[in-house]
Subunit: 221 residues, 2 copies
DNA sequence: CCGGATTTTCAGAAAGAGTTCAGGTTCGTG
DNA sequence: CACGAACCTGAACTCTTTCTGAAAATCCGG
């Protein structure tokens, strides 16, 4: 059970490490964001514990860099007490859980076990259609020619819907339901606008229009 | 409109039920996961509402059991506020939508209607006559030689009418009634115009004219 | 509060579907 | 066999839907 602990407070890091080792983990420590990024990419950890308050850069950036380079092990972030914003941002950036300082080591261990258990069943999930591959974790689109495009949130949700069922016609109303909830309902033209953007990525022929019916993702080719 | 409500909080369940019934649903309640699994498999519901926090087993397991035994009605899951993980897992396990507690009953009803509407189109229905197959979902015509033509709305409605009863003679007046409602009544020549377009797809011999009587779709070959 | 990214809106252009029209053709009947 | 009614045909026209590019509004992190 290899763990990466990213924590600049050396005293805390030492203490944690000894307890984690007692609990059966094998722990690598690093104190800097820079090293954390490299280690995370290089080594094969089963989980990471990441303090967000680092001297040489933000912990969130470390997490984002990991996630954008296919580092998929579960990450628990440590935040200052009550720092609600950090917590939210952390989860958005791909963290699996968080713990506010100060905390009991038992709780950290319990949560680490929890996120590791959860992550076991987690596949690096991608949707593949023709020469396109949509990466759900990284929210980006890879094309067979080797190019890769990161998508904005709305672009991604729309494309996932279409690619999730290639050949199926989705009406604009259905797509609206997928992208927006009941209280927010923008102009229907918004679908057309996003379809256009996606077509610039995947090519116009890949997303077909069925006039009066809707749109579909072409599974052939 | 039969619904299954799986909710262990009896008070909440009662309240919801009375409101759902006002909205025109007929609701079965169960408080346990065990019973939920059985009922879902046994009865013919149009949708399900599933609370993930159940005493005797996880709501997700109920959903998984349903889905792995071909229970296909749409399911909306109720999660504790902000329980981000539950929501994600729920959707992965086959839920159609989710709602975080606490919620407005109106929103629940709206979403139920939405997922039920969406699920209607899930059955794949086609009409097959001779070497032609009309796909009602995709509104397109497949021919035995492998070609496929997507149809416009009016083309499709007319062809479905003819193919729905091969060999039967439909008068122009009957066809007009099928295609248009009372307030819109275009030139009668419109039928001839569309028959012509269809013949270009299926071949002139496939749609026969009975002078003075009407048209029919040839079932022989 | 600023600057960049993202989302949303808008309005004119383009394309497509639906409809009409003006002959031409065919058929049945007297 | 001549005539009218019914039907066929191709093109033109109208109206709706979709496309498109740009601008405005909003969100978000610093």
């Amino acid at each position: 059970m290899r763990l990466l602990l990213v924590e600049d407070d050396r005293l805390l890091a030492e203490g944690l490490t000894s307890q984690l080792e007692k609990a059966g983990f094998s722990v690598d420590i690093t104190h800097t964001a820079k090293e954390a990024v490299v280690l995370g990419k290089q080594e094969d950890y089963k989980a990471g514990v990441l303090d967000l308050g680092l001297p040489d850069g933000n912990g969130l950036d470390v997490l984002r860099k990991w996630r954008s380079s296919k580092v998929t092990f579960p990450v628990l972030i440590l935040t200052a007490r009550g720092d609600w914003q950090d917590k939210v941002n952390g989860l958005k950036a791909g963290a699996d859980d968080y713990l506010a300082k100060p905390f009991q080591t038992e709780e950290l261990i319990a949560r680490l076990n929890a996120i590791m258990r959860r992550s076991e069943g987690r596949v690096h999930s991608t949707v593949k259609v023709g020469r396109f591959e949509l990466d759900e974790n990284r929210q980006c689109l890879q094309i067979e020619d080797g190019t890769e495009h990161s998508l904005t949130g709305t672009e991604f949700r729309l494309l996932r819907c279409l690619m999730g069922r290639p050949g199926h016609i989705f009406s604009k109303e259905q797509l609206m339901e997928q992208l927006y909830n009941l209280n927010e309902s923008p102009n229907e033209n918004i679908i057309e606008a996003y379809i256009r953007r996606l077509r610039k990525l995947v090519g116009a022929e890949t997303i077909a229009t069925r006039r009066g019916q809707g749109y579909l993702f072409n599974d052939s080719v």
